[in-house]
Symmetry: none
Subunit: 418 residues, 2 copies
């Protein structure tokens, strides 16, 4: 087993501390390093302050082999990363003629004259490898220190940083450090089970599995199971993941709806296509969200016929034929109305399947008998129509989302059970 190579990410910029920008760079860097087999244990953010950048860099070099910095490499006075790195690693700044020339050319091409501020970007710590930045003016730096440790500095603009990392930094790191192992991960997505029930069902695997490891991640309406494997061989990694996935599927069955980037509506769309089934939707409290999700997929016109957002009682009666008496007897939020909506829209649209959803998304409109979050979801097919009652505890947006999730999942399970 090779020794673990640990990298640390240092993102620099006062705007990150103030929350004006969300730091997406460090997530990207972390992902790329992990895939290259390099572990990240620490991530630090400091503002454009020389003293704190220097402290953070020293600390990082003391506990990690690689330090990847981004930000504060631009042409303005408060872009200080390069100067601080030179000071901390004890290298003088030297004017790099190649860099100077390329900056000058970039300005000339755009018909601009170069300011002395931009000239400062050609001052490079002695012995640093300059990383070309075809998308901007600030070049990156790759510095190998006497003790074998590495300091990398890249600009903070994501469109400049990302290709520089992928094309120039990662290959140099892998080569220089002799890293061979790679990390691969796979996500299995579940819905219809709580996080703690899922932990009871597969927690023993999560605790015993070493390679791949298992982690549970909760999202609104779905819980993801992440499998992560570290191997040198691609084939071996895939086999480890396949084996573990098979064991999880054995326990969880169709609670697992998809893998990796797959969305629930996408899995459902494929099933509808495969089974040659069409669908229509009558929505009240979800207000169009279910139709929106069903039509997020290219080609959804093959199975999605129409959606009716029947918000008013009159619309429920006129558009999907809910009998007036049903609404006056049971109220618009009731099981009989959900059933009538599903049957009504199925008949009117002439589809194989249909959904009817009525409920109280909140925050207003709840009563003791019918509280906020009470939602009825009915599904109609040629076998008949049935309805489930839910009590969601979220805010309005969350309740709409959870109801849409359950409704789409009811269709999915119906199609799987055919």
């Amino acid at each position: 087993m090779e020794k673990a190579i640990v990298a640390e990410i240092l993102t620099i910029g006062t705007e990150l501390l103030l929350g004006h920008n969300i730091d997406t760079n460090s997530a990207y860097i972390g992902e790329q390093l992990a895939e290259a087999g390099i572990d990240v244990y620490w991530k630090t953010t400091v503002g454009d302050n020389e003293d704190r950048i220097a402290k953070a860099l020293r600390l990082a070099l003391a506990r990690s082999e690689i330090v990847v910095c981004t930000g504060s490499l631009g042409p303005t006075e408060d872009d200080v990363t390069c100067r601080v790195i030179a000071r901390v690693v004890g290298r003088p700044l030297i004017l790099d003629q190649v860099v100077l020339e390329s900056i000058r050319r970039r300005f000339a091409e755009r018909g601009l004259t170069m300011s002395s501020n931009n000239e400062r970007q050609a001052l490079i710590p002695d012995g640093a490898i300059v990383l070309a930045n075809p998308r901007g003016t600030a070049p990156g730096l790759f510095i190998r220190l006497g003790d074998g440790k590495v300091v990398v500095a890249m600009p903070g603009v994501p469109s400049e940083m990302r290709p520089m990392l992928r094309e120039q930094v990662i290959p140099r790191l892998r080569e220089g450090l002799g890293v061979r192992a790679r990390i691969r991960s796979r996500i299995l997505k579940t819905c219809g089970i709580t996080e703690s029930k899922l932990d009871e069902a597969v927690g023993d695997l999560a605790r015993s599995a070493q390679n791949p490891t298992i982690a549970l991640l909760a999202h609104a309406g779905e819980i993801h199971i992440r499998l992560t494997v570290k191997t040198e061989s691609e084939a071996e990694g895939q086999r480890f993941l396949d084996d573990l996935e098979a064991r999880l599927r054995e326990r969880l069955g169709d609670l697992i709806f998809g893998r990796d980037e797959e969305r629930l509506e996408e899995v459902l769309g494929r099933l509808l296509l495969k089974e040659k089934q069409t669908v229509a939707v009558a929505e009240s409290c979800t207000g169009g969200l279910i139709s929106h999700r069903l039509t997020n997929l290219p080609g959804s016109s093959a199975y999605f016929i129409c959606g009716e957002v029947v918000y008013s009682n009159q619309a429920k009666e006129r558009l999907v034929g809910v009998p007036h008496e049903l609404i006056s007897q049971y109220g618009a939020v009731s099981r009989p109305v959900a059933l009538a909506m599903a049957s009504g829209v199925r008949e009117a649209a002439g589809t194989d399947l249909a959904l009817g959803i009525t409920g109280i998304a909140g925050p207003d409109g709840g009563t003791a008998e019918k509280p906020v979050g009470l939602i009825y979801i009915a599904m109609a097919s040629k076998e008949g129509v049935h309805c489930r009652e839910f009590r969601f505890l979220g805010d309005r947006d969350t309740n709409k989302l959870l109801a849409s999730q359950v409704a789409l999942d009811m269709l999915r399970r119906h199609l799987l059970s055919r």
Copy 2:
């Protein structure tokens, strides 16, 4: 000048280091602390590793007065934050009966039985103030140490963390520390203008303004103007912001649609209520998104009557009365069909206003004559019906979003011009 109070943010979770989740929490926390007049100099992220969480917490307590932690507070084995904090600050864990009872109640309300994993969430460091979490099971912690320093722990789920921070943490911090200077910011939201046009219109103010400062932030379909002011007096800060807002409004007029958290659909909803106007929508390529956005507001049933997602040609004919000949002559994606959809749904639903949207969201279905991104948006009122043509350049999701944005904005401008 009062002494600066420095806070440090510690986000915990291996998924953050691996880049599987983007850390939006720390940006939100940084913003809220800055507005409360509390500086943040350091932000650290570590994985779910007890040893490194403890190291990071000790380091943070050595250099900052306040440490705000998020993440790893859930019910599973690898959620270790609470245990580590107790160890680092030297307080035993005690079973909190109130917390235990509230977790139990939450489960009972949903008809679920509580697992022993969830019971562990009621173990609280001695002397900690428990922060209620009405949106989830894991409570937060607020611990004041003997030396006056503060450790806060909150769950990592943003919808649980954000209100806890705003309502329970910030007020306690401000009170305890006697902070006076505050940063206030205000966001003015525009739509219907590009970032470069906006820069031309107000760039001189952005470059000259010192307090408040101005920054432009581009989002899908809207550009925000952020004004930021730092003052001790609430009244003075508000006056500075009001003055600058007035100057911006003078230049931009109704290009500014809202302020701060206001969403376009919310501004529109208020206008519809005020003008006592009702609306119906016939959507094809936006697939329900416009109805979804119009119903994201509590009380939207007062103005939103119905939405029809007429995806198939038959649905366009049957539900909103688009003449068959129009579709065969001009195609479903055409100006005449959009006009007929708007008029048809207005008549059928009996509303004051109506929208009709048809287009090609992509990525498939485009031709040389009718490319992906071509979208027609028609609006009908008692004055008549008109239609605008757009060519959006985004992917499917973005095109749907941009079309919904323009459509809602057409309604807004119509109501403003009445």
